[in-house]
Amino acid sequence: MVGAGLLAAGVAVVQAWVIAGLIADAIDGAGLSALWPPALLALVLIVLRGALAVASEVVGAAASHRIKQAVRGQVLAALSDLGPAWFDQRASGAVATTAVDQVEALDGFIARFYPAQILAGAVPVALLVPVFLVDPPSGWMLLAAGALTPVIMGLVGWRTGVHARSQVTAMKRANGYFLDRLQGLATLKLFGEIDRERGRMRAVSDDLRRRTMGVLRLAFLSSTALELLSSLALALVAVHLAGGLLQGDGMALAEGLFLLILVPEIFQPLRRLGTHYHDKAAAVGAAEALLEILDAAADLPARAVPVSRTGAPGLAFEGLSLAYPGGRRTALDGVSFQVAPGEVVALVGESGSGKSTLLSVLLGLRRPTAGRVLVDGVPLDGRALVPSLAWAGQRVRILSASLRDNLTLGRPGAADAVLTEALDAASLGPVVDRLPDGLDTVVGEGGRALSGGEARRVALARALVRDAPLVLLDEPTANLDRDSEAAVLSALRRLTRGRTVLVATHSPAVIALADRVVRLERGRVVETRAAGHTEGAPNG
């Protein structure tokens, strides 16, 4: 890329010389026949230069593409490693902006600013050599003007970082805000908030515009200053040459024209640098947003080696405490209890008492601030337990994909027979029969909407398909009517057989399925008792 740029600079010198000769000869009254050969040569050089410019851009674009692809992959992998806990304080709309738009913002820097920066250092110096050879005074003038360039860039640039940061922050905020409002639009409408919301949207847009203009004002200032410098240098040299030519101090017309044509060429790389300055500003802001994620992921402990188990594991919670970051209330406070292999334990307690947090520790989504969990006597490390567990969360998330993809999420390629069995166990058979494309029907957002009860049963069927020795369930019967609840309970009975199960619930029917009940209150275990277990429930 840079090589092509330097080569192009060499061609530019030759081309300037040829064209200057052409003009001088024409002015001297040379005939058309004498002008043809150098004119042809000039055209060849022109095409050569164009080809070199294209080549350098193509290489730059390819490099930028590779780097962006790698960075995006790393950032998304880092986000996955950080897990949902990272999103406690960040909106997913804002994170999407980082992984999509901020990575794209690197493009201008890699493909344009960076090579322009190298060329801006090398090309003007190289082009000054022929200038000094032809007319040293002009050379000194241009050298002085060129030396001002870093000063100008420095003066303009030292505030850019601050502005770029503020702009990226505003952009992330705007995107997070927009996504949030789009997802809550029906509520805003019902509550008569649309007019006030318009005002807020206007304010968010205005804030973003002001900050973006803050960055651009500086970027434009730098490109204008460099352009002005180039114009003034051209004027200076022109006046100097005109004086020289008028006094007839021996300089040939061709030489004067050569210098005049070369002046813009000398400043061109510098002007390019100025033009692409906002690419740099954008990339600086973007890089900080990206590094925030990458650095946070780098601070994570080494990824735990996943252990796959076949038998139902026994669990022991030992003084488990967990405080949410930012001095928020303690979610778990010295939780200790044991779960025998194959035991079904119901976690009960008011909402917010720590049930979901406890489950998220087993998933490896949150790290306890104190205490530990032993799995078959071995301390749990991060997400090591994930391959051995099946999970159905409180807020069921149906992927916007086919029902089959939803069911096989935890076991890709599971046979249809397995899926059908799981669907029957979750009493979903009739529902699937009614779907236009059966298992291949697209469900979820943008597809066929599933009712709350159907979605829960899909989540349980998914857990059955996963077929893992440890099962974690978070309020599996919430929002269900009695018929659906009955269907879910029968699926649950099936799911608990031969497995260790932890289920957070309020439902007496689910509690009845458990061997033991552990009651949490504000992050503490306040009661552990045996449940009225309905032993050997028929046809699970």
């Binding site: 095409v47 204008t224 307690g349 807020r395 709350g452 309020e475």
Partner: protein, 552 residues
């Protein structure tokens, strides 16, 4: 072209800004012509006395350029903000009837975000890059024609031919080449954004199912395609820029050759004039240089405009009447509900979601709606909120057909707790005051107490000013529901539509909330979806729905 004109039409409010930007751009090119012409003349000694003019002209041009860039960008960002708001206004009537909710084949939130952000931003090409540069290039071509015609008409013809190639031919080619790349770029960007949002919002499930690797690989594929489109755009842009550059220099050579041929050795005076002509040519070509890129981006802009219009021109499921009935005064007048022969099927659905539903609910009555999931309970609520109109039959509230009222007037008398009621990004106070911004501290405290939230609020680090929502304190499912309940209590509406208000509560907490709700429900018409026996006991009447029909 129609798409582009449509969006140009939306800029009317910013005509002053756009005009100022264009005038400044013309000034820049004019001063550029003057500067290079002067420099040429001075250099060859034709206008030695004019040397002093160079510095002010150069300064003026740079200043004008700076102002021009600031103005056009400022204008563009203002226009984009206008369009974003315009799009939002179009979106509001479509939610949740056509978008979100139960709408099948509808658009996804991530896709809407792409439109609201990415596609609206892509319109910047229309204003900064297209309109102003085209006007400027045209004027520069006219100026060049005038000046060169004075020097030598054949030179003018030759240069204008090459200028036409650079200003019309090359942009036409880049426009053609950029069409499919632009479309691909816009589509893949939207897809990429959607997938990243899916990843972040579904991360827990993906992790729990060991499916993160697969999701990342899928994103990588889309990102690769998007990157390939961006790279193709870069190559097209490079070729366009190089072509313009080559034509500029070729024009320079042409000026000389044609000039010499015409002059045929006519003497000393011709030379300087030719040199001036060459410099003026350079300046004029500078004015057409931005065009190839501008026209290349037209494909992307057009794809974006189409995506915006696609949504903006959807027909809403319900519209306000042109002459709405005035809302009852006070709002609590007439809060009885009557459904007569209501039948409703979602678009594309085989079976109706509700059929032959007759239901009378007196003002102040409390009715529980029960039935299996998918039986039509939520649809009944959707009709009561007028997110849809029945296919046949009528829904009347206070004696008036809902179709005769504005949606805003109807919504003003509803207090709705739905299953998916979201917590919006904002403070707890913002969330509570949604829909009742004037509520005082006392009523907020009362609502918190009734919803059983007072203890949780006391635990929060910043109390009512704690930031909630996706980027704030994560509430548990039950807490979020109680916030939504408190919101409804504050709303103080004569008609309450409550979907499982005690969900996520254990039996004890449920009793407490129910006792408190009793106070809230007093004197209001209440329709409540529930399956909890403890709740139905507190209601006057139970209505059962099965397969879209009321069961006696």
């Amino acid at each position: 072209m129609a798409d582009l004109l449509y969006f140009l039409g939306l800029t009317k409010g910013r005509a002053g800004w756009m005009l100022l930007g264009t005038v400044l751009a013309v000034l820049v090119v004019g001063l550029g012509l003057a500067l290079l012409g002067l420099a040429g003349a001075v250099a060859v000694g034709a206008l030695a006395g004019g040397a002093w003019l160079l510095r002010p002209v150069a300064l003026g041009r740079s200043a004008a350029r700076y102002l021009e860039k600031l103005t056009t960008h400022e204008a563009t960002f203002r226009i984009l903000a206008d369009i974003r708001l315009w799009f939002f206004d179009r979106l509001v009537p479509l939610v949740p009837g056509r978008i979100g909710g139960q709408a099948t084949g509808g658009l996804r939130a991530g896709d809407l975000l792409s439109r609201l952000v990415g596609d609206v931003d892509a319109l910047d090409g229309l204003y900064i890059q297209l309109v102003t540069p085209s006007v400027v290039a045209l004027l520069a071509a006219l100026a060049l024609a005038a000046i060169l015609s004075a020097v030598a008409p054949p030179v003018a013809v030759a240069v204008l031919l090459i200028l036409a190639l650079a200003g019309l031919g090359v942009p036409a080619l880049t426009e053609r080449a950029g069409r499919s790349a632009g479309l691909e770029q816009v589509r893949r960007a939207a897809e990429l954004r959607q997938q990243v949002i899916d990843l972040t919002q579904g991360l827990t499930d993906l992790i729990a199912h060991g499916a993160v690797g697969r999701a990342l690989a899928e994103i990588d594929r889309v990102s690769e395609r998007h990157g390939a489109a961006v790279r193709r755009q870069a190559v097209i842009a490079a070729v366009g820029a190089a072509a313009t550059q080559m034509l500029t220099q070729a024009a320079l050579v042409a000026v000389l050759l044609v000039g010499v041929a015409v002059a045929g050795g006519a003497g000393e005076g011709v030379g300087p004039m030719l040199a001036i002509g060459a410099f003026v040519t350079l300046a004029a070509f500078e004015a057409v240089a931005p065009l190839p890129l501008a026209y290349q981006m037209l494909g992307r802009t057009r794809a974006a405009t189409r995506r915006l219009r696609e949504v903006a021109e959807m027909a809403p499921t319900v519209t306000d009447p042109s002459q709405p009935l005035s809302p009852p005064k006070p709002l609590s007048e007439g809060s009885d509900i009557r459904l007569e022969g209501v039948r409703f099927a979602y678009p594309g659905a085989v079976r109706p979601a509700l059929d032959a539903v007759d239901l009378e609910i007196e003002a102040g009555e409390r009715v529980a709606i029960v039935g299996p999931s998918g039986s039509g309970k939520s649809t009944l609520f959707a009709l009561l909120m007028r997110f849809h109109d029945p296919d046949s039959g009528t829904v009347r509230v206070g004696g008036a057909d809902l179709r005769a009222l504005t949606q805003a007037d109807h919504h003003a008398r509803l207090g709705v707790l739905s299953q998916g009621t979201p917590i919006l990004a904002g403070t707890l106070r913002d969330n509570l005051l949604l829909g009742s911004p004037e509520a005082g501290e006392a009523s907020v405290a009362r609502a918190l107490r009734i919803a059983g939230l007072d203890r949780m609020v006391a635990d929060l680090p910043d109390g009512l000013d704690t930031w909630l929502g996706e980027a704030g304190v994560a509430l548990s499912g039950g807490e979020a529901r109680r916030v939504a309940l408190a919101r409804v209590i504050l709303r103080d509406a004569p008609i309450l539509l409550l979907d499982e208000p005690t969900e996520g509560l254990d039996a004890e907490a449920e009793r407490a909330v129910l006792a408190a709700l009793d106070e809230v429900m007093a004197g209001r018409t209440v329709v409540m979806i529930t399956h909890r026996p403890a709740v139905t006991a507190a209601m006057d009447r139970i209505v059962r729905i099965e397969d879209g029909r009321l069961v006696p």
